[in-house]
């Protein structure tokens, strides 16, 4: 113990004695370990962290239906839930829930909030206590309309009600009156750690929460997630057996709807079963990338330590002469290395805290918002500690063993005279590895950046700049079609009358925003082969002036106009590809096709076949993703195809975002203050949605790649500088024997150039092997794009050359007299 303390003290002193080395090493390690800690916090948050506040989560299980088509994670219908709940004796309680957006107003502007329909025993099963008031009562779960009671989240309570007295307060949810009876505890999430509802309603409020649909009586409609708490002594297997039996009973009793449906029970996981493998895969990819960066950092530090070890042979020889065993010397050197890595790890944690905040900035906002707790907890701490300790041990061992080799000088002179021997070859290998890894990261980043650039050049077929959006969902508000139409008519009129607004229109969806609709169509002469469904064509339902507002070029025929009203002949405007594919090009105007009836879901869907006439043909555009191939698309007039959720599009001067958006908000609340606006943003932002993953990838990979490049440059510099330093005498001799500056420069450049060349070759091979995993993110650039590879290789080569040039030039400045005096 005493000697360990001595080792630590001596190690710290040695490190402080060479502050340059220590600083570079600690900084490299801090970034390397910090990046890994960040990704681990993500893994921790998504997969490992326990649900906050939930009691004894090992007793919780998820219950799903299994379907004949192989789906093992199907949702459960309400009648089936009741049957399971009342007959499964393995549970202390079996709760049901579903997430659904709600519109909330409590005096003042309405807002869209994250809602949850929950069974009365939901909080009991999760094992949480209310922060205020009470939770739902069993009676309220039976009364139609959920007895008009609601529980709200701690967060909503603080944000919307200022943390004041709220129990007993009346609020309006989707236009229906509800009474707040309680507040959930602070920090409570949901069955999923990254989703936290704002408002909880009893299951029986389903019709109010989801206007237009009635799911409570429908045994065929699976919509509920089930979570149960096992009785003491009951196992998951027992629960599975029980539920299978119950599912069998349902099958016999309701053969028509229950055919082939079983039940599956498994311990809870944070990620819904159906996407778990994708999430795990994504995390794994990230982990590999940051792992590579850490490897670069470690290799760099190990390389520097190796150089120092070499220079410290004398110290080691003296220690050995004074009686130190080799093990003792190795331990001393390892302690120093561990110290370095632990300090690096400590700073890495600080860095991770900061990077986590940065990462949070990338998370989508609005109703899609997810909650992530990226705080550093004991899991993250132990991870970082373990990583620092292990890397310190592994990467400290080679230098320690080299330095402690008792006859290192003899080995160097006899066995490996050229190039300085094993230690320097090892260092060379580290540097080659660093260059190769940086190359892989930089190629990946270059591909992302190239994609972003080609994405910016893609002709989307419309002009998003200068267009501002606001989405209104009247369906939550219980508006019927007549009132809804009136609302939208007035909203559009008022928006169009605003000063500076060039035009205003309405549409069901925003292209490239991640939401698209479509229907199946029948075109005479283009019947699908037997057994195949009719073609599915993406569509948007738009008002007059849509084409003008978005500057979609009209190629033939006409735009929609006021006369395309409800009773008038049904019409459509189609794009070039659709015209070419089904109607022989621009002669399409005047031709007919049929929109086919589709099964309705939650009250939405075409109930009967409708024949339409093509009245216009417009230029092709991009509709769902920027990278898509041209595909058929059709516009249907809003007047003939009503929808309760529409987006107002207004065209205004390009730099007027804030005032325009504020004015639109004002007009909407003037029409009906109860209606929440969502997605109030410039269209460029909505359209950029599809680029978020690419931006994120480019930023993260690019940052890591640049860091890797910096480390690799330091590595090359270190190796060459060290070689120059250890060969000063030789340089002096060579100069005395007639070597000119150029000769000396070449001598040392050669070393670095060979390292760089090998690194770039290996990196190219590595990048070729790895970038295809990126292919799905890329637009308009191949994963093996020669330009990206060449540019990165050149940049790397140039950086490596400069990194050798600096110390090599110093070699040419060596004064032979000084070099030769210094023995």
């Amino acid at each position: 113990m005493r000697t360990l303390w001595q080792d630590i003290r001596f190690g710290a002193r040695t490190l402080l004695k060479s502050p340059g080395f220590t600083l570079v090493a600690v900084a490299s390690l801090a970034v390397g370990i910090g990046a890994n800690t960040t990704i681990f916090s993500l893994v921790n948050a998504a997969l490992l962290r326990p649900l906050p506040l939930v009691r004894d989560e090992s007793r919780l299980v998820d219950v799903n239906r299994t379907r004949p088509n192989g789906d093992r994670f199907a949702q459960v219908s309400y009648p089936d839930y009741l049957y399971f709940r009342d007959h499964a004796d393995v549970f202390d309680g079996l709760a049901a829930y579903d997430f659904t957006p709600l519109s909330l107003s409590a005096g003042g502007e309405a807002e869209r909030v994250r809602g949850m329909l929950a069974s009365a025993n939901y909080f009991d099963v999760m094992g949480v206590k209310p922060a205020r008031g009470r939770f739902l009562l069993p009676d309220e779960d039976r009364a139609p309309g959920g007895a008009g009671v609601a529980v709200i989240s701690h967060q909503l309570w603080q944000r919307r009600f200022g943390g004041g007295e709220v129990v007993g307060r009346q609020v309006s949810i989707n236009g229906h009156p509800f009474t707040v009876v309680g507040v959930a505890p602070e920090g409570f999430k949901s069955p999923f750690i990254y989703l936290a509802p704002d408002v909880y309603l009893p299951l029986t409020a389903q019709a109010q929460a989801m206007p237009g649909s009635d799911l409570l009586g429908d045994r065929g409609a699976g919509w509920l997630g089930l979570r149960g708490r096992l009785k003491d002594g009951a196992s998951v297997e027992q629960a599975q057996a029980t539920l299978s039996v119950l599912a069998g009973q349902l099958q016999t009793e309701f053969a028509d709807v229950e055919r082939g449906q079983g039940a599956s029970v498994r311990p809870i996981g944070h990620v819904p079963g159906e996407v778990r493998s994708a999430v795990v895969g994504f995390m794994l990819t990230l982990s590999v990338v940051v792992g590579l960066v850490l490897l670069v950092a470690c290799a760099n530090v190990a390389g520097m330590q190796l150089a120092r070890a070499f220079a410290r042979r004398r110290e080691v020889a003296i220690r050995t002469a004074l009686g130190a065993t080799r093990g003792r010397v190795v331990r001393q050197l390892l302690t120093e290395s561990l110290l370095l890595f632990l300090v690096g790890g400590g700073l890495g944690i600080l860095l991770a805290v900061w990077m986590n905040d940065l990462l949070m900035a990338f998370r989508p906002a609005g109703t899609l918002a997810v909650e992530f707790n990226l705080d550093v907890d004991w899991r993250v701490l132990s991870f970082t500690l373990a990583v620092s300790f292990l890397t310190g041990l592994v990467f400290g061992l080679a230098p320690a063993l080299t330095a402690s080799n008792p006859d290192v000088s003899a080995t160097l002179k006899d066995a490996a005279p050229r190039g300085g021997g094993r230690a320097s070859r090892l260092r060379g290998a580290f540097v080659v590895g660093q260059i190769a890894i940086s190359m892989v990261l930089l190629v990946a980043a270059a591909l992302c950046v190239q994609s972003l650039r080609s994405a910016a050049r893609i002709n989307t077929g419309f002009e998003a700049e200068g267009v501002y959006l606001a989405t209104v969902d009247l369906s939550l508000q219980g508006y019927d079609e007549t009132r809804g139409r009136e609302f939208f008519r007035r909203l559009k009129e008022r928006a169009a009358a605003l000063p500076g607004i060039e035009s205003a229109t309405l549409a069901r969806s925003v292209p490239l925003s991640g939401l698209a609709f479509g229907e199946r169509v029948r075109v005479e002469g283009h019947e699908p082969p037997a057994g195949e469904p009719p073609p599915f064509v993406l569509s948007n339902t738009v008002d007059e002036d849509y084409l003008r507002t978005l500057k979609v070029p009209l190629l033939a025929g006409r735009d929609f106009r006021a006369t395309d009203a409800e009773g008038a002949p049904r019409v459509a405007v189609i794009n070039e590809t659709m015209a070419a594919r089904y109607f022989g090009g621009r002669e399409a105007v005047g031709k007919h096709f049929t929109l086919l009836a589709a099964p309705t879901l939650r009250g939405v869907g075409r109930r009967e076949d409708v024949g339409v006439e093509v009245v216009g043909v417009v230029a092709d555009g991009r509709y769902y993703t920027l990278g898509e191939a041209p595909q058929p698309f059709m516009y249907l007039p809003l007047a003939q195809n009503y929808g309760g959720m529409l987006t107002l599009h207004v065209r205004a001067p390009k730099d007027a975002a804030a005032p325009v958006l504020a004015a639109v908000r004002r007009e909407a609340s003037a029409v009906d203050p109860e209606v929440p606006l969502t997605g109030v943003m410039p269209m460029t932002e909505a359209v950029g949605f599809s680029l978020i993953p690419l931006r994120l990838a480019a930023t993260v990979v690019g940052a890591l790649g640049l860091f890797g490049l910096l480390l690799a440059a330091l590595g090359v510099y270190g190796v060459v500088a060290y070689t120059v330093g250890s060969r000063t005498r030789e340089i002096g001799i060579r100069v005395a024997l007639g070597a000119q500056a150029g000769d000396i420069l070449r001598l040392f450049m050669r070393h670095g150039v060979v390292l760089a060349a090998v690194g770039v070759c290996l990196g190219t091979a590595g990048a070729l092997a790895l970038t295809r995993f990126l292919a799905s993110l890329l637009y308009g650039v191949s994963a093996t794009d020669p330009v990206a590879f060449a540019v990165v290789a050149l940049v790397l080569a140039a950086v490596a050359l400069v990194a050798c040039l600096v110390p090599a030039r110093r070699a040419t400045k060596v004064d032979p007299m000084v070099a030769l005096r210094y023995e």
Binding site: L737, G738, Q740
Partner: protein, 228 residues
């Protein structure tokens, strides 16, 4: 060939300037064989380094074949050095990581020589200095005397016009020392100008002139040496 005018050399030390050479005036004509003698620390090595253009931080004037060395740039001086000078160091200064043969090749590698020619010269030198058997050994596998032989061989291998040798026989058996001196004599007869540092009167006797240094001063310059 060489004219030194008031050459001075000093080091800045804690106590101020320490002069190592003081107002040295020296003329060496082409074809001369000069021996520099003097007690340890008197500045012999320093003088030789200046003459060999390895040290440019000195005061005074140095003309070499009418070129003002003290005015030349680093590059020009290096080029001049490369063209004319061969140097034997007092402490040999072989390159540890190269074998004997490779050490001999180093000066040739800086003088645009065809591979065959350079190999022939190396073979010839190995033979002449009787170190053929040692050609693949590294310096640390040689005795001090053998290292000195290699250092001398390396200095003359490219047949320099001016050979500067700092105690070239200090570690050699008197018989071997004599052989080196005989070799120098032959080179000198063939036209090589030689300046050697030596403590041995016998060695000095091979030259035609002795320069005595003491505390940085040239104290006495003897004319044509006693023995031929």
């Amino acid at each position: 060939m060489i004219q030194l005018r008031n050459v001075e050399k000093f080091y800045e030390t804690g106590a101020g300037r320490t002069y190592v050479l003081r107002r040295v005036n020296l003329d060496v004509r082409e074809g001369e064989f000069v021996s520099v003698m003097g007690p340890s620390g008197s500045g012999k090595t320093t003088l030789l380094s200046i003459l060999g253009m390895l040290d440019s931080a000195f005061g005074g004037e140095y003309f070499f074949t009418d070129k003002a060395v003290h005015k030349l740039s680093h590059k020009e001086r290096a080029a001049l050095h490369k063209r004319y000078i061969g140097f034997v160091f007092q402490s040999y200064h072989l390159i540890d990581s190269l074998t004997v043969r490779e050490n001999l090749e180093v000066p040739l590698s800086y003088r645009d020589m065809k591979r065959a020619e350079s190999e022939a010269l190396v073979a010839d030198a190995l033979d002449r200095f009787q170190i053929v058997g040692k050609k693949d050994l590294f310096p640390n596998q040689l005795s001090g005397g053998q290292q000195q032989l290699v250092a001398v061989a390396r200095a003359v291998i490219h047949n320099p016009k001016l050979l500067l040798a700092d105690e070239p026989t200090g570690n050699l058996h008197s018989g071997q020392g004599r052989e080196i001196m005989e070799l120098f004599k032959q080179l000198n007869d063939a036209g090589t100008t030689i300046i050697q540092v030596t403590h041995s009167e016998t060695n000095a006797s091979y030259g035609n002139r002795i320069v005595q240094l003491s505390d940085g001063w040239v104290v006495n310059e003897e004319g044509e040496g006693a023995a031929g």
